[in-house]
Symmetry: C2
Subunit: 413 residues, 2 copies
């Protein structure tokens, strides 16, 4: 049965290019005129057929464009699970992830994603600080994997924070993403149990005419100043440099800081648009920095923190988010932000339980997120409109080569 399914998945992938171009026009009409209610008539397009390689120097899901759907899940090792059990789990997880990201069926498949293309699926694995002593690997715990400081504005729920193991799943199709989550969770049976799990989303590919533009649930354009892989110091800022010794297993790896940041959308929406722009430091409509007078400023116009208004006040206010978070305000600290929005309904007080599954990547959390957050917390005007409610740091090893599994250099050290 697995072979038959593999063949059918491969066949659909090989014909994807042809189907994609022809399919678009059909899909547009079907969206309105489709003859059945529950069925989209759009055939496989690039959205479905795009495949992100599992193997590589770095794990996928770090520099990969963020997908429309995301799951993050932390596990704790079951009592008695040792290094050998963890190695077996990482081997099974890597095999399942490699199969699913390539559009093949994993062992023990439940067929949820059977007809779909890989849909840019990525699966990224990490280790929390609590993993190392439990697995008898305390000597191999990275020095960079520090505890997160308690920031004054934090409202952290420990049950929704930290964890021994972490998986980040992203895909442009919700069923493909759920399928990966379900398969990986079942593979963990007896070795690790879910500690917390969160669902997020981004734009569906093709939804906007401004594809470079990411808006968050505050309506604000987000991530404009993210570092780019083409920047000359990108690798040094984001990935762990090669070294020898007991921490060499992190060569090519990165550290993920995960913060569930609830947005206080009701107070936020009570502000005028101009007030919101003062909080962020950018025009809401197009993302131009307030230092670039309309109509010439655009999202990519460089930020001028020194610019003053005719009345002598700072064009970008002293407590504006983009000023306080800027690298030049934080000794050059740089993080790669790769977030998902989330919305989990309403809280008991009627306010939306919605915001950002903030995930950022850096070579060292102390000189990355922590350095920036120490500055932001308290002095960033935005702090008054958000709540950090969960927190974690994970050591994310480099990518596996074909035949290897993720974390093998740690677990078989």
């Amino acid at each position: 049965m697995t072979d038959q399914h593999s063949i059918s998945r491969r066949r659909l992938l090989s014909t994807a290019g042809a189907a994609g171009a022809a399919g678009l026009a059909v899909g547009g009409a079907g969206g309105v005129l489709g003859s059945t209610a529950a069925h989209h008539s759009t055939p496989l397009t690039a959205v479905g057929s795009t495949m992100v390689p599992f193997h590589g120097t770095h794990q996928a899901g770090i520099t990969t464009p963020a997908q429309a759907r995301g799951h993050i899940v932390a596990f704790d090792l079951a009592p008695g699970a040792d290094r050998k059990a963890a190695a077996g789990l990482m081997r099974r997880w890597s095999a399942a992830a490699e199969a699913m990201t390539a559009g093949r069926t994993p062992a023990g498949d439940d067929q949820i994603a059977l007809d779909a293309g890989p849909c840019s699926l990525t699966v990224t694995f990490g280790f929390g600080a609590s993993f190392f002593p439990k697995a008898g690997l305390a000597d191999h715990a990275p020095a960079a994997l520090v505890p997160m400081p308690a920031f004054p504005s934090d409202a952290i729920d420990p049950k929704q924070s930290n964890g021994d193991l972490w998986i980040q799943i992203g895909a442009d199709d919700p069923l493909v993403a759920f399928h990966a989550l379900r398969i990986l969770q079942k593979e963990a049976a007896g070795v690790a149990t879910p500690r917390w799990q969160m669902n997020g989303f981004n734009r569906t590919p093709g939804a906007t005419a401004r594809p470079m533009t990411v808006r968050n649930l505050m309506g604000q354009i987000d991530g404009t100043n993210n570092p780019k892989p083409t920047d000359k110091d990108f690798d040094a800022k984001i990935f762990v440099p090669d070294k020898s010794g007991p921490q060499a297993w992190m060569n090519g790896g990165s550290y993920a800081v995960v913060r569930r940041i609830r947005m206080l959308l009701d107070p936020w929406d009570d502000l005028t648009e101009t007030e919101q722009e003062q909080v962020i430091g950018r025009r809401k409509s197009n993302g131009a920095p307030l230092s670039a007078p309309a109509p010439t400023g655009i999202e990519t116009t460089p930020v001028d923190l020194e610019k003053v208004n005719p009345d002598g006040s700072l064009a970008i206010p002293g407590d504006a988010h983009i000023r306080v978070a800027a690298a030049q305000s934080n000794a050059g600290a740089t993080i790669l932000r790769r977030a998902f929005s989330y919305h989990d309904g309403y809280r008991a007080d009627g306010s939306p339980d919605a915001g950002l599954l903030f995930i950022c990547w850096q070579a060292d959390p102390t000189t990355g997120f922590i350095q920036i957050q120490l500055k932001l917390d308290g002095s960033d005007h935005l702090t008054r409109f958000i709540r950090h409610e969960s927190s974690a740091i994970f050591a994310v090893p480099g990518g596996a080569q074909p035949g290897e599994y993720v974390g093998q250099h740690l677990l078989e050290a």
Copy 2:
């Protein structure tokens, strides 16, 4: 500001056709090679530019193909809110829905969806039985809007059930869907408060090479026998026929039965694939009925309930879901199923809180869902692997004509 945004939205829509075709190839490469992590480089395609008209004989969101993202939300009238207040709310809601579904910004916009196309957004409004006495409209309550019977297998949470008003939102982009939910919830301030709210999803358009195929979280192909708008009795089964008198406001309307059906995925996955197929009555891989021997049977092969195996047993078991649910087992009872899957993490016992936001449409719930469910509950093998946890019936009036609002014929009767 609103005008400026409207122009930019209209411009993006008018250029969508050209952008769509060129954009696809770029999107495919961008999926892997994009230079920034948080940005998809797919420009607007048919996924984003497709617009579903708000006005019409019937409301949108009934025969419209189900979108990738769905929100359903029920509201209760605030204490003291009367018929006039409800009329004002329905007028504001209709105006906002009309604007957003056409890709324009609504009043009080928060810009969350500013750069996106309409993404097949639909907004569908309904009234629960509790609405009518509160609004002084008891005389106009439809006779068909009966209380839901208590089925023996039900595990209904009353707080997640019923409600005075109901909105169903669907869109192919999660931010467009959230935007609509947020705008409509804010419009209700002072008149109605959210009672319950649920999030669901379906395939992203373009994710599969088998676009007619919808799989649920059990991995089973779903909705195969849905009635089609081209069926000769479709309108009679799904839409309320025209009549005069105090219930004439429901002419062209339909009744929505909403059931949050949790799937017991762990026990389900403990079954073999063959056992799962016996529960449903169809092959899991391709949806062919068990009455059609492999390899000739396909999803659309007609079901033969009389077919027997060589050993004399029924090919489709006596308690198989498709037998018990079939129209011929239920005096011709027909419903239009238009569901979203849901996944809200894990329950305290570690099992997934996942399943189906089952929404079905019919001209009369008593001869539609209720008649079928009276039969299914207890005798359908599938009952042992699902739990109905919330329940509601809503009267969904016909569509508004330009210049009207939904429910106007009720509220200004």
